[in-house]
């Protein structure tokens, strides 16, 4: 579904991604794990067109490299960004409606209101708080809102950036269960997580990113047992090994 080949991204002179190749198949949950600064978010942002990137990204067979973010959303990819980034002064409902901004312009009002119902079914909390301003929601609720808002664009591929960040374990579990439910409804998921264990426990496959390069790719259950992964996640490097030899 999504194919990324030899992707490079830069922040000024700093190479944030150094030739990343990976893919996501239709119906999969794929986890991208790695330490802080490994390039995980950059990878998602490159796919979305938020960061300039060199390389080849194709979605459902069509090149989407260097498309504008709204064009990427129109193709069927949307992102729930790290740190939620909801519009705090707006209500829950308004936030969700904004997620369907492109579709309002395409006069799909009826379909949008159906989707709204769907989101409320998925997250009953959001229905309860639909008139509340988003800034007053708890962290977990804000994350639900961010995911709900991304879903309002009716993506076939959902990009989740650190959905568990700063949330209590029990809320994280609830979010992960929602991700599994979403997959059952036909949404494919590429998830970036520092919380490797959580992400890998629900993913089919995983990639481990280290300083802009993929160093491991394997079925998620294998990565869960991999000691290198624990280390990559903790952000340690291999110095202790090379120096000790």
């Amino acid at each position: 579904m999504l194919e990324i080949r030899n992707l490079y991204a830069y922040y000024g002179n700093i190479e944030a991604l150094s030739g990343v190749t990976c893919h996501v198949k239709q119906g999969e949950i794929v986890a991208l794990i790695g330490a802080n600064g490994a390039g995980k978010t950059t990878l998602l942002n490159s796919v979305c067109g938020l960061v300039y990137a060199r390389g080849k990204v194709t979605f459902e067979g069509n090149a989407i490299t260097q498309l504008a973010p709204e064009a990427v959303v129109a193709r069927g990819i949307s992102q729930a960004p790290e740190g939620r980034q909801i519009f705090a002064p707006l209500t829950v409902l308004e936030n969700l409606e904004l997620g369907a901004y492109l579709r309002y312009r395409q006069r799909q009002r009826e379909a949008v209101s159906q989707d709204l119902q769907r989101i409320y079914e998925l997250f009953p909390r959001l229905w309860e708080r639909r008139q509340q301003t988003a800034g007053t929601l708890s962290g977990g609720e804000q994350q639900m809102l961010a995911i709900g808002r991304a879903l309002m664009a009716r993506p076939r591929l959902l990009l989740l950036d650190e959905p568990s960040l700063g949330l209590a374990p029990v809320i994280v579990d609830a979010i992960m269960e929602t991700v599994i439910k979403l997959r059952e409804t036909g949404v494919t998921i590429l998830m970036v997580e520092q919380n490797a264990r959580t992400a890998l426990s629900i993913a089919d496959r995983g990639y481990v990113l280290e300083t802009g390069r993929i160093i491991l790719s394997a079925p998620a259950r294998e990565l869960l047992n991999d000691r290198q992964v624990t280390r990559a996640y903790l952000g340690k490097d291999y110095k202790e090994f090379t120096e000790g030899r």
Partner: protein, 425 residues
């Protein structure tokens, strides 16, 4: 027929999966193995300069000598505390080749071993008996692990003699025999002497490994044991069995290219050869963690055939292994370099290496190495007994160190080379 879709990507997906795994292997090798990093640096290459599979030719080869030179742990790509198995085998130089495995690697090899069995239509209902010589312990262990992983009942290799093995085979109702072609033939001989016939056994299938299987021998074993036959290709001193396994359509070996990238190169120039043409098999690992190998020269001569196979397995095929492009030869499936024999002689004779000739010999169905040593002035001794001692020590040395049977003759003049001659030094 096994359903490969569960474990092997379709041909459309395969190329991308291989590229992903290749790039992550290069990243790990570059980051964690000094030997490889130096090679990249010398060529002014970065791991991400390999942007598609054909560009792997930018990388230098890795030879058996490189493996021995980096003895013992120089090529390991993970810390030793992550290594759960250390396996060694005689190398091309004085140093052995040492290979490490992480827990994930062992799981991976067990799965590949199980794939080999599945391709041979062996299931968890089967009783698998492994009959291999002590020189093939790497094959024996990995094939045991693979069969256990599959869930079959396994009778692991042991030092029982052929008659006892046959008794076990009959009484335990073994349904699958894993052995070498020459051992299979020897089992047939011994069975005949014991007055037993195929109907006394429950054997359904034989998996013949480690040696080439000429069609005449194949027919003889097939008829004698009344079984269907599968074969496998592996380089067990470096990479386990399950590298490639025979196709039920008998169109060669399906090569596990989802985990290993094969190339065929001209053995002299190192240039890549197109599909279908013979040359040396070169392998890059895509999935192993502890011991990544970049463009390892196997020394085996074969060819690659990408055409779709009627058996339905999507993996590319290796043609027959037609020989070797280096001086390594095999006795009963055990690979030996002539220099190893020279080194053994030097050790026994305390530094002196007289001219010697290596021949392949056969006692009943079993291969042995015949060594003719020219008696020169330094070696000349009136005492025949002393010469006998040399022969006995050399035989024991080779059995203990390489796991092969040898016969040593001390001769005045080396005989002229014939068909069975392997090397003269």
């Amino acid at each position: 027929m096994p359903d490969w879709r569960q474990e092997i990507p379709s041909r459309d997906e395969l190329e991308l999966v291989q590229l992903e795994r290749l790039q992550s292997t290069l990243n790990r090798a570059h980051r964690q193995v000094k030997f490889y990093r130096r090679q990249f640096d010398e060529l002014d290459l970065r791991p991400d300069d390999i942007q598609d599979l054909t560009q792997v030719t930018k990388l230098p080869f890795t030879s058996r000598e490189d493996l021995s030179k980096n003895y013992p742990y120089g090529l390991f790509a993970v810390p030793l505390r992550d290594i759960v198995r250390i396996q060694s085998s005689p190398g091309a130089t004085d140093n052995p080749v040492v290979v490490g495995y992480t827990a994930a690697d062992l799981r991976f090899w067990r799965e590949l071993g199980a794939r080999l069995y599945r391709s041979a239509e062996v299931s968890k209902e089967d009783i698998v008996q492994i009959v291999l010589s002590s020189g093939l312990t790497n094959w024996a262990r990995d094939l045991k692990d693979g069969a256990e992983h599959l869930g079959a009942s396994v009778i692991p290799f042991s030092n029982l003699n052929f008659a006892k093995q046959l008794m076990v085979m009959r009484d335990y109702k073994s349904s699958v025999l894993v052995t070498t072609p020459s051992y299979a033939r020897q089992l047939l001989r011994v069975r005949e002497k014991m007055g037993l016939v195929a109907a006394d056994f429950n054997l359904k299938r034989a998996i013949l490994v480690a040696e080439p299987l000429p069609s005449a021998l194949r027919a003889e074993i097939q008829a004698g044991l009344q079984v269907s036959i599968s074969t496998a290709y592996g380089i067990t001193e470096v990479l386990g069995p399950g590298l490639a396994f025979s196709c039920p359509e008998e169109t060669g070996f399906h090569f596990s290219e989802d985990h290993f990238l094969p190339e065929i190169v001209d053995p002299d120039s190192g240039e890549r050869r197109p599909f279908g043409l013979p040359g040396e098999l070169v392998i890059t690992t895509l999935s192993t963690a502890a011991f990544p190998l970049l463009r390892f020269r196997t020394g085996d001569l074969t060819s690659l055939h990408p055409e779709a196979c009627p058996c339905g397995c999507p993996l590319i095929r290796l043609g027959d292994i037609t020989g070797r492009c280096d001086r390594i030869f095999s006795i009963g499936g055990i690979k030996i370099h002539p220099d190893q024999i020279g080194a053994a002689i030097r050790e026994i004779l305390e530094g002196h290496v007289p001219r010697h000739l290596l021949r392949r010999g056969r006692d009943e169905a079993l291969d042995y190495l015949a060594i003719d040593i020219a008696v020169d002035e330094l070696l000349f001794s009136d005492e025949v007994k002393c010469l006998e001692v040399i022969g006995r020590r050399l035989r024991r040395h080779l059995r203990e160190n390489l796991g092969i049977e040898a016969r040593v003759s001390l001769v005045e003049n080396l005989p002229p080379p014939d068909q069975e001659t392997i090397a003269i030094s």
